[in-house]
């Protein structure tokens, strides 16, 4: 295990007070803004950095060195599916003809062709009848799905007031339902970490608009009772929503549509390998059954004898993005699906689940719920999960998601993805296990910054260089 002995040191540029200086600390200029516009519309001066390209290039290159990405090392951040992002899709996204103005339609047949084909791929993969590509992220997909559900119920003369969400669900589920004006009913999980079918039966009523579910759930467990869940929700007149954050576990093996889900979103930046970009952009297409297709956002793309065209669904909820969503992310995901094909997609979920099971086996911490699929949640037990995470950083491993879901004490939610080798997983396991008998509270040491004071940041918010007085 020579790999265990390898030492991680992140790049660091520092002086006594800071790391890489801010750009305005290197170069700041105030220019007069003489323009041909009327004076009362314009500012007198503008004060911003005014550095030449070599200075800018070195600045951002150094900043990139002070950042950890999937290409830097293992990144088993649970629920985020930090898989490898193919390089060639970036070249496709950079093409001139991939970037047309959003008002074009007849003269953008190539763009519409990609959209139509991606919609069809996603519909088949999810077992859905119709797909919109417009939502620009997973949470936007949730919001869109909830709007569709609301419009559907209203079309039946049925104003419903509640959305039910399991206690292990992503925080976005709760927030999206609240944004759409629904009361959120939190459903406690059963002892086995899954949906408690009896509790659900007691929770549903003629106020239930939607039940939102993640499968496998955030503990990595497949909800085996999903068909019964669907019956309970449908019998109460509600709809069933699939949060696609964990679809990587089931790619090419099981489909939400076959489980009884009416609405789902896909996270193209997770399952379909578009890069996460330091926080985004993502894309959160939404799939629905035929019955709900008339309510999807406008416009939709369809193929006709003459080519492709946009149209407005009969009872559309309208728009959820100013234009067509994050098109470049759609293109990258389309190319990824075409590259993998059916067999590659099925292999992806197989290796993702194999990796999570293998890593769970190698980790010395207790994993209270199982069997896992694409991810597992270990418990740091007596240790603070945050301290465990900070120690893992020193081993060149991005730590798991910490302290969530809350039903596991000191949770370490771990999703290795299919992209890690056995050797890399052994290294992650060693990083995990090395923290077990430690009581260090001064990690990390080997990262660009040492432990960052979160309390100070929140107590005295300094959110721009104008607010700094530390030179």
């Amino acid at each position: 295990m020579t790999d265990d002995a390898r030492v991680y040191e992140q790049a660091r540029w520092s002086d006594d007070n800071r790391y890489e200086p801010l750009l305005n600390e290197k170069d700041e200029t105030t220019v007069d803004t003489d323009t041909s516009l009327p004076d009362d519309l314009t500012r007198d001066t503008l004060t911003l950095p005014d550095a030449d390209e070599p200075v800018v290039a070195r600045h951002y290159t150094r900043l990139s060195q002070e950042n950890y990405g999937v290409d830097s090392g293992p990144y088993p951040l649970g629920s985020c599916t930090m898989k490898y992002n193919p390089k060639f899709t970036e070249d496709l996204a950079a093409r001139d003809d991939a970037s047309v103005h959003p008002s074009r339609e007849e003269t953008a047949q190539g763009t519409l062709a990609v959209m139509d084909r991606l919609q069809k791929h996603l519909a088949r993969i999810g077992g859905m009848d119709a797909v919109t590509l417009q939502p620009p992220a997973g949470a936007a997909g949730e919001f869109t799905g909830i709007l569709v559900a609301r419009a559907y119920h209203r079309s039946n003369g049925d104003e419903r007031s509640e959305v039910i969400v399991p206690d292990t669900a992503h925080g976005t589920n709760f927030a999206s339902a609240a944004m759409a004006g629904y009361d959120v009913v939190e459903l406690p999980s059963g002892d086995d970490g899954r949906v408690d079918v009896d509790a659900l039966r007691a929770a549903v009523s003629d106020e239930t608009a939607l039940f939102m579910m993640t499968n496998p759930n955030t503990l990595g467990l497949f909800e085996r009772d999903v068909r019964e869940v669907a019956d309970i929700v449908h019998d109460a007149g509600g709809l069933l929503y699939y949060d696609g954050a964990n679809l990587n576990a089931l790619l090419g093996r099981a489909r939400p549509g076959d489980m009884g889900f009416d609405i789902m979103h896909y996270n193209l930046h997770k399952t379909f390998a578009a890069p996460h970009g330091g926080g985004g952009p993502g894309a959160g297409p939404v799939g629905v059954t035929d019955e709900l297709a008339p309510f999807l956002p406008s416009p939709r793309v369809r193929e006709t004898d003459e080519g492709y065209e946009f149209y407005e669904p009969a009872e559309t909820v309208g728009k959820v993005h100013g234009f067509h969503g994050n098109w470049l992310v759609l293109l990258k995901a389309y190319a990824y699906i075409e590259r993998l094909g059916d067999a590659g997609m099925r292999d992806t979920s197989g290796k993702a689940v194999l990796n999570a099971n293998y890593l769970a086996e190698q980790v010395d911490y207790d994993v209270p719920y199982g069997p896992p699929h694409h991810e597992f949640v270990a418990s740091a037990g007596e240790r603070d999960a945050l301290e465990v995470a900070k120690e893992m950083l020193d081993h060149g491993v991005h730590p798991p998601t910490t302290k969530w879901p809350e039903i596991v004490d000191e949770a370490l939610m771990t999703e290795p993805t299919e992209a890690e080798t056995k050797e890399a997983l052994d290294r992650v396991a060693a990083a995990f296990n090395g923290t077990r008998d430690s009581n260090a509270d001064d990690a990390p040491q080997n990262t660009t910054a040492r432990r960052v004071d979160q309390t100070e940041a929140a107590r005295n918010p300094r959110l721009s260089w104008h607010a700094l007085d530390d030179g």
Binding site: Q10, Y19, V31, T35, L37, R43, L46, T47, E53, V56, Y60, S64, E66, N67, G69, C80, Y84, P86, E90, V100, H101, R104, A108, G110, V114, R124, G127, G171, F174, A175, M179, Y182, F222, R253, G277, G278, G280, P281, F323, H324, W327, E338, R339, D347, T348, K351, L354, N355, N357, P371, K390, A419, T421, R451, V452, D453, P461, R462, L463, L468
Partner: protein
């Protein structure tokens, strides 16, 4: 066939299965048989070259037209260095900075993005992006609804239909309705705004608006909003704001817009939601905020902050449902702004004033064209009056030029540094089409 991005050898797979006590990968799936699918979707695996050729074939169906299109999506030249620097995979393949110690680079880049917007808007706080201008407008109205009494949002009649639709979807759950106010010669009709502001939580104005006109009544609108206890929200973009008065000077509480005018191709409307707000509302901001702090060595370091506003902690009481945002594109906007510098930004903005002015003058010289429709300062684009605007649009398109038809007798033309070279040809085509 295995995934080219799952690097296991067959021996490794066997070792790993042994370690977990399974014979096959399939048996690791705790899925009832009746829910299993064979994964046959009809997609043949391809090698990388084949996919590139396939996508090349599809995208080659996009016609080669010269776009004089704007209305919310604008093309500026993106320097090559933006690609080279932001495609560095440490930026591109990372995610939200939950572990700030290994994410100083993207945190600092986003802090710099926020700082540039603070300078440009004159407001105290800018977030690390939302999706686009339309969703930023929705978030602004929801923020206003949390801090002000009322049940309407006032927007100009010139607001893009698509943005109005997104706004209605965002605010309906909060019990707000969207009410339009008229404009005169492209300017807000302040008296009507004043009459309608009583019930409003927010008054919204755009400069430039979707007809390219710079709003001249911002101060009056700011006063009206303040008198009515409504927030004042201004829509703009970082290029225009490089020369315009900071909206905060006119009393703006919020500035929204699309920062994708910097650093991003038009990309079918891919946006970067600019969201800046007065410091008084710092705890109401949607999305990620990067703040400065110190680390254990006493050096300045950056971290996501005030996270108790956000969905992963506050759930249904969060300020927004947003999680994944447009961070990489925000960094690209910051890199582009850094490459232009203050002087380059001002030059670019001046060009956005001069090019449309010059083009409008030339079009106005053609019999049958009146341009601009509003004799007002314009930015990037302007409306022109013609007979049968849809026909003019279609015939220009046959000649390889794309413009907007706004209605039966107005077209709209957008010109920046990227299509200015083609204005001679556009003018010639206009002469043919209108003659």
């Amino acid at each position: 066939m295995t995934s080219p991005y799952a690097p296991h050898t067959d021996d490794e797979v066997r070792d790993m299965l042994d370690a977990v006590g399974a014979d096959t990968v399939n048996e690791l799936f705790d899925v009832p048989d009746e829910l299993l699918h064979d994964g046959e979707f009809g997609v043949e695996p391809k090698d990388e070259r084949e996919v590139v050729r396939h996508v090349d074939e599809l995208l080659s169906r996009n016609d080669d037209v010269v776009e004089f299109l704007g209305r919310g999506s604008y093309d500026h030249y993106v320097p090559s260095a933006v690609d080279h620097l932001t495609l560095r995979s440490e930026f591109l393949t990372s995610y939200t900075q939950y572990q700030p110690e290994v994410a100083q680079g993207s945190l600092q880049a986003l802090f710099e993005y926020q700082s540039m917007l603070v300078e440009l808007t004159g407001l105290g706080v800018a977030n690390a992006s939302v999706y686009d201008a339309a969703t930023a407008l929705g978030e602004a109205a929801l923020l206003a609804a949390r801090v002000e009494d009322g049940d309407t949002v006032l927007v100009p009649e010139t607001l893009l239909d698509e943005r109005a639709s997104v706004l209605r979807n965002y605010v309906e759950g909060a019990g707000l309705s969207v009410v339009e106010y008229p404009t005169e010669e492209g300017n807000a009709d302040v008296d009507t705004v004043a009459e309608r502001a009583e019930e409003a939580v927010m008054v919204y104005a755009e400069t430039p608006n979707l007809r390219g006109v710079l709003e001249e009544n911002l101060d009056a609108l700011g006063d009206v909003a303040e008198d009515a206890d409504a927030l004042f929200c201004v829509g703009s973009d970082p290029v225009a704001l490089s020369v315009l008065r900071p909206p905060a000077d006119a009393g703006a509480d919020i500035v929204i817009g699309d920062a994708s005018v910097l650093g991003a191709p038009t990309a079918y409307g891919t946006g970067v939601g600019l969201f800046a707000v007065d410091e008084a509302h710092i705890r109401q901001v949607p999305g990620h905020l990067v703040g400065a702090s110190t680390d254990e060595s006493g050096r300045r370091a950056y971290t996501l902050t005030l996270q108790t506003r956000e969905q992963h902690i506050r759930k249904e009481r969060a300020t927004s449902n947003i999680c994944t945002n447009q961070a990489w594109l925000a960094i690209r906007a910051a890199v582009h702004a850094a490459l232009l510098g203050a002087s380059g930004l001002v030059e670019l903005a001046e060009r956005c004033v001069e090019e449309p002015r010059a083009l409008a003058e030339r079009l106005d010289g053609i019999d049958g064209v009146e341009a601009p429709v509003h004799d007002r300062p314009c930015f990037r684009e302007f409306a022109a009056r013609v007979d049968d605007a849809p026909r003019v649009r279609d015939e220009l398109l046959e000649r390889g030029f794309a413009v907007h038809a706004l209605n039966d007798d107005e077209i709209q033309v957008c010109v920046t540094e990227t299509n200015a070279d083609a204005t001679d040809d556009l003018v010639a085509a206009f002469e043919e089409v209108v003659a």
